[in-house]
């Protein structure tokens, strides 16, 4: 057993929404100075749990224990005063304010009897906190100029300014580069050293084993198990999560390679990338690997005509085509499944079938007039092919899980009968089940003669799925590997600029 008792604990907590038991009699223990990884597929109840811990939701039953006492967290302000803070990707920070203003937002230091804001004290205190966590940031820097990783540091500094004793990190590394992730780990270690209890939510297993001391697994709103990280293996964790043993190998099927369908020549951009040339053949998955900021997404955007400054030539089946807008790209059979699903991929407040039919309304409609029946037919055909889980095709996309939203985006593009499909981080932030479905589907696509260009930051995904991979470093294509010659070490050293 543990030498210390938990700082924060949930016992038999249940939270019910109409039709769903979002949390069903769950328990959770967080220990001071330890990182507890919370793992579970999407829909396992993780976000409900976070909201219950931070006072946004009130549980129907169960007990919350904090520091040896039973407590009620009535609202977020309660949680803040108790020192419970959650940091997630959407953590509310203010872009047009300085680092210090963000750290103290809502709890400004004041002086004098009129409560004048004491900027001097706040900047000084902010400096201390930043120094404490060794974050190289100036308190007076504007937030808009910082990277996502640096913004996380600000969020953490903000948590510390109110003396947080329980810090929840909700997928903090999802948008971070390799280097930034390491800085974040360092920060987590320093928080541990201060005795903070940390809950770490992530989809990435390597992170769990790199940073966590303990784990807790949820499935479908219920507690499945917990324990010390030394006592568990990766396959065991996965099995607890999905309750079926999941083969971690990728559903790669080698499709026969046909002739070249797509070729990009001499793509350059004044600041982002230079001299990018490559070709893809029918039945081939071409992977693009690189660190965040290597210019991969920028290239993909240029290919579909979204970058005015980029120059380069595109050939589809040997024919030169002019692609100056996504509309041209779709016309040419080149489609892009974007990285930022919710910002660039779906219309959240529109029904599934309208999302799927959008790029090809000219095909489903008659003389410009909508045909709901045709739209539904297309949505059904492709939605079923991708196994979108929904109660109806008229359901708003907003009500789907991340994985199913991604399937809707893919269905939408597939319905346009493309020849080349670009997938930018196709499995980012989606649960393991959906991930496997997307991968299996990619294999199916290439078997049908499509060409797939896949951008990914996940090495196993690239190595597992791509037939050929191009490694990018600072806007240039530095190496190319075939599936057989690729090794993790070689790819990573090429991406980080290490000369092999």
């Amino acid at each position: 057993m543990e030498s210390t008792s938990p700082l924060f604990a949930l016992r038999n907590v249940t939270k019910v929404f109409p039709g769903v038991r979002a949390l069903d009699d769950v328990r959770l223990e967080l220990y001071p100075g330890q990182v507890t990884a919370l793992v579970g597929e999407n829909g396992a109840g993780k976000s409900t749990l976070v909201k219950t811990m931070t006072g946004i939701y009130q549980p129907e039953s169960g007990e919350i224990w904090y520091d040896g006492q039973q407590v009620t967290i009535r609202n977020p302000e309660d949680a803040r005063q108790m020192g419970i803070t959650a940091i997630h990707q959407e953590t509310v920070l203010f872009d047009d304010m300085t680092v210090a203003e963000n750290i103290f937002a809502g709890s400004y230091l004041t002086r004098g009897r009129f409560g004048n804001l004491d900027w001097k004290a706040m900047n000084r205190r902010a400096q201390e906190i930043l120094h404490d966590i060794e974050a190289p940031l100036s308190p007076t820097a504007m937030l808009s100029g910082l990277s996502i990783g640096q913004k996380h540091m600000v969020a953490i500094a903000r948590a510390l300014s109110v003396d947080a004793r329980v810090v929840i990190l909700d997928e903090p590394t999802a948008a971070l580069s390799h280097h930034e992730i390491h800085e974040l780990y360092e920060l987590v270690r320093r928080l541990k050293a201060r005795g903070t209890a940390i809950m770490f939510i992530t989809h990435k297993f390597d992170e769990i084993f790199a940073i966590a001391d303990r784990y807790t697994v949820f499935r479908d709103g219920a507690f499945v198990g917990d324990g010390r990280i030394e006592d568990v293996t990766e396959p065991e964790l996965v099995e607890m999560m999905v309750a079926r043993s999941l083969n971690e190998t990728y559903p790669k099927v080698e499709a026969p390679l046909g002739e070249e369908v797509f070729r990009a020549e001499g793509f350059s951009h004044p600041t982002e990338f230079a001299d990018i040339s490559f070709a893809v053949r029918k039945g081939e998955i071409l992977g693009f690997y690189g660190l965040v900021g290597a210019g991969r997404t920028e290239i993909m955007r240029a290919l579909i005509g979204l970058s005015e400054q980029a120059r380069g030539e595109i050939y589809i089946e040997g024919q030169r085509v002019s692609v100056r807008s996504p509309a041209d790209a779709v016309q040419a059979g080149l489609v892009y499944v974007p990285e930022e699903r919710q910002q660039q991929g779906v219309m959240l407040d529109m029904p599934i079938y309208q999302n799927i039919s959008l790029p090809q309304l000219h095909r489903t409609s008659r003389a410009g007039f909508l045909s709901t029946r045709n739209e539904l037919a297309v949505a059904r055909q492709y939605g079923e092919r991708l196994n979108v889980k929904t109660s109806s095709w008229s359901e708003l996309v907003n009500n789907l899980s991340g994985g199913n939203q991604q399937k809707v985006v893919i269905a939408k593009w597939l319905a346009t009968h493309p020849r080349v499909i670009i997938m930018d981080e196709p499995t980012k932030g989606i649960d393991i089940g959906s991930k496997a479905a997307v991968h299996a589907f990619m294999s199916e696509l290439v078997q049908q003669g499509l060409a797939v260009i896949m951008v990914s930051s996940e090495l196993p995904e690239i190595m597992g799925m791509a037939d050929r991979m191009i490694v990018m470093n600072e806007g240039r294509q530095v190496r190319e590997f075939t599936r057989d010659e690729a090794t993790a070490e070689a790819i990573v050293s090429a991406a980080t600029g290490v000369r092999a």
Partner: protein, 334 residues
């Protein structure tokens, strides 16, 4: 969200009666009916077809512009220069009429000026990427300024006799030309927004402009067309208004942009874009018309009328919001 693997996923799950009851349009219609009955009871002059027909003149010109404005707002843009476009178009018609031009040419002038103003707004917004609220506040002053500069304190009233038909004529019995034109346009815009690809793309852009662009929609061109449509309808409204008044003064249609936007918002169009319907806007136009008319019958002065319309807007808009809050409080979902 779970369903058995064997059953096909249905196209829709809506329970018709319930979804009808929670619709904004139904709610507005109920408010309209309540107001209508209240006025019928309180004023003996209210339930008279000719009086009611007269009442439509209060709002049809504005409501005509509210139709494309609704689409523009759904598309996350706005045009606050419409009243000034009416003024500029009216002046142009006044000068053309002075030269002794015939009616078709006068009408064409008004509509063309409207179109050009709309295109100008659209061009500035889409080419330079400046928020339309800023651009059209600018052109609101610009167009009105040109009008005043051209006219000084003059009044233009050399319109031919036949020109009066648009603003004063009747097509059949109590149905004025204006009113019939408004109903026809409402039907056209209903079809355009709710039944065509163009309408669907309007919603898509309003919902998520980035994703719309990524989906191959020509967002700029689309917005340009909407600005042009607003301009054209402002030109049409200018024809009607000028014809009804029989003259052009620099202050013509002053302040109309806000009552047009009020109609659109009251009609259930989200001011942030993405949702709203033409039937909603049409009912809102009727509601505002009937309230203005009824209060007029009760000899309520204009200032008080403004206060009442303002309060009505806030109340009608906030009731569903408050109700939704209560509902959400009872059933927060994931």
């Amino acid at each position: 969200m779970e369903q058995s693997a064997k059953l096909p996923i249905p196209n829709t799950l809506s329970t018709p009666l319930k979804s009808l009851l929670v619709r904004w349009e139904t709610f507005l219609l109920a408010v309209f009916a309540a107001v209508f009955i209240a006025f019928s009871v309180t004023s003996p002059y209210f339930l008279n077809v000719w009086n009611l027909s007269d009442a439509t003149f209060n709002f049809t010109e504005r409501a005509l512009i509210a139709l494309p404005m609704a689409m523009l707002i759904i598309c996350r843009e706005i045009d606050l220069s419409v009243a000034s476009i009416i003024a500029l178009a009216s002046v142009a018609m006044g000068y053309v009429a002075q030269t002794g031009a015939d009616v078709p040419l006068i009408v064409l002038t008004g509509i063309t000026v409207g179109l050009l103003c709309g295109l100008f707004n659209g061009f500035v917004v889409t080419t330079f990427g400046i928020p339309s609220i800023v651009v059209t506040i600018g052109t609101m002053s610009l167009f009105r300024g040109i009008t005043q500069g051209l006219m000084g304190n003059q009044v233009l009233r050399d319109y031919p006799f036949e020109f009066a038909f648009f603003g004063q004529g009747y097509v059949y019995w109590v149905f004025s030309f204006q009113f019939v034109l408004f109903l026809s346009c409402a039907l056209l815009f209903y079809i355009l927004l709710h039944r065509t690809n163009f309408g669907r793309r309007t919603y898509a852009i309003g919902n998520n402009p980035t994703a719309a662009e990524f989906s191959g929609i020509k967002v700029r061109r689309h917005k340009m067309i909407l600005f042009a449509m607003v301009g054209v309808m402002a030109g049409v409204a200018s024809v009607l208004l000028t014809s009804r008044l029989g003259s052009t003064r620099p202050a013509i249609a002053f302040g109309w942009e806000l009552s047009i936007v009020t109609m659109v918002v009251l009609g259930g169009v989200n001011i942030l874009g993405g949702s709203g319907t033409i039937p909603g806007v049409v009912i809102a136009a009727f509601l505002m018309g009937v309230v203005t008319f009824g209060l007029g019958l009760m000899n309520i002065p204009g200032i008080v009328m403004n206060i009442i319309i303002g309060l009505m807007l806030i109340t009608v808009i906030s009731i569903p919001v408050i109700m939704r809050r209560i509902q959400q409080h009872r059933s927060r979902h994931l």
